[in-house]
């Protein structure tokens, strides 16, 4: 089966055709925003990092920014630097060049102030947007799709309806040769043994268990019991008592496929099928990591309701909570509450979600896109220096 997408010079395919303005440092964020503002087809990345991160954090920032630039949902990139930052805009550019897409750098200190940089940036981006608009969608096999999964604002309906239905949709995509990313390591606690059992090799199963152990010990070192911070108050009001309970409901959304690979934050999968990315449970950091890893589309389940989106990948919101659907219709794309009423099977709901994934991949605009939700936050391990 196919979706209608944009083929890129590196062979990958996009579900969107954005021109992306990347501030290589927080200092150029405002300028980058001003450049993209009002230009149809252009989006900017609300990045505040790029200076002050050292060691592994610097690596993560660079990897994430480069990952957004190389993501196939992006047609061309303008990197906006300030001029004295630790992570130079040229480093970002260098990471994007191998994809064969157009990438340019402008630097505020060199151009001479914000106004001149905005004017120059707008000229460049406008031209990129005009070029992007000439590209047309073509049939792309679903095997080229990497679908990200996420659940935020879970309640009892998440584990009963929306996550199992998304899981059924994921199984359909994997059957088509596509890729599905499951993540949110801290929300695997209590269910990690089930995922580990599905790993292709015992070593990979251990990678899953090690990832969970890392998060638990990291939290312990900071004096926090992860199980006291999660579930959140809204989860508890919604009927979820313990983290294990939340996790067991969570992993349904990955379907039943064997686990093919375990990857680190913002890394690209090298295998198709179900892949686990080790990320925080923080929704925006998690979404950011998956999109940097090449995800072109996201399915996001919620019980209590959630407005989040990403700057370049469409996010489809799914709820099994009827009240939430009716209260937050401007945020939620799909309602699967009939599963709870026994009027629709999980398989049927999963097929509906799968069809929506194909429609959205082919250009249908999601609620989060309509609302202009462009949430972005890079995972950091340590303090800024």
């Amino acid at each position: 089966m196919n979706f209608q997408g944009y083929r890129r010079p590196d062979g990958r395919a996009g579900t969107r055709n954005h021109v992306l303005v990347i501030p290589s440092v927080g200092c150029s964020q405002g300028t980058a925003q001003a450049i993209a503002q009002g230009l149809k087809g252009a989006v900017y990345l609300p990045n505040i990092s790029g200076c002050g991160q050292v060691g592994e954090d610097r690596t993560l920032v660079k990897k994430t920014l480069v990952g957004f630039g190389t993501n196939p949902n992006v047609f061309a990139v303008l990197v906006v630097g300030n001029g004295c930052e630790q992570l130079s805009p040229e480093e970002i550019e260098k990471g994007i060049v191998p994809t064969g897409k157009r990438v340019k750098v402008i630097v505020i200190q060199e151009v001479g102030g914000t106004k001149k940089t905005v004017a120059l940036g707008k000229r460049i981006v406008k031209e990129m947007c005009e070029e992007a608009a000439r590209l047309i969608r073509e049939p792309i096999p679903l095997s080229d799709l990497i679908l990200g999964t996420e659940c935020g604002g879970s309640d009892y309906t998440s584990g009963l309806a929306s996550n199992p239905a998304v899981g059924a949709a994921c199984d359909l995509l994997v059957a088509e040769g596509g890729t599905v990313i499951l993540s949110e390591t801290p929300e695997l606690i209590g269910a990690e043994h089930l995922l580990a059992k599905r790993a292709r090799t015992p070593e990979m199963g251990n990678q899953v268990l090690d990832a969970v152990a890392w998060w638990e010990s990291k939290a312990m070192v900071s004096g926090e019991d992860i199980r006291k911070a999660n579930p959140a108050p809204g989860n508890i009001a919604g009927g979820i008592t313990t983290l294990e309970e939340k996790s067991l409901g969570c992993i349904y959304k990955a379907g039943t496929s064997p686990l093919e690979e375990v990857i680190t934050y913002a890394s690209h999968p090298t295998r198709k099928g179900l892949v686990f990315m080790d990320t925080p449970a923080h929704d925006i950091e998690q979404l950011t990591g998956m999109v940097a890893g090449g995800v072109q589309i996201v399915v996001f389940t919620t019980g209590r309701g959630n407005p989040l989106g990403t700057p370049i990948a469409p996010v489809i919101k799914i709820t099994g909570n009827r009240d939430t659907y009716h209260k937050m219709r401007d945020n939620i794309d799909i309602d699967v509450d009939k599963v709870l009423q026994g009027k629709e099977t999980v398989t049927e709901a999963g097929k509906r979600i799968f069809e929506e994934v194909i429609s959205v991949a082919s250009g249908k605009i999601t609620k989060a896109e309509k609302l202009g939700q462009r949430d972005f936050c890079i995972f950091k391990m340590n303090i800024n220096i």
Binding site: D155, Y156, T157, G159, L160, G190, A191, E192, H193, L194, N206, L209, R227, I236, G238, G239, T241, T242, L243, E244, E245, L248, G249, L340, Q341, G342
Partner: protein, 97 residues
């Protein structure tokens, strides 16, 4: 009204059921457990989406939902009683590999 599903048991190993609507203490519910319909009376008010015990549980017993342990009881729990943060906690460390 009577035909509408009020409660659900996810897995046959589970010792808790979920209320699909708010249910008052004293409500009689029919629960399908391991293919059999069991009738029972709720001992507490159960908010929508919350759990109640399908059978009596000892203190420090495993609470099972989705066919897997979701934590342990901190008190004796009677059949039909609300199971939530007042009588259920996360399991301590030591999950085996």
């Amino acid at each position: 009204m009577g035909s509408k599903i009020k409660v659900i048991v996810i897995n046959e190993k589970d010792n808790v059921a979920i209320a699909l609507k708010p249910l008052n203490a004293g409500t009689k519910v029919s629960v399908k457990v391991q293919g059999r319909i069991e009738k029972m009376k709720l001992l507490s008010d159960i908010p929508m989406g919350h759990k109640f015990a399908l059978r009596d549980m000892e203190e420090e017993g495993a609470v099972i939902k989705y066919g897997e342990p979701i934590g342990q009881s901190t008190a004796k729990i009677s059949r039909g009683e609300h199971v939530h943060i007042h009588n259920l906690v996360s399991q301590p460390r030591g999950r085996s590999r």
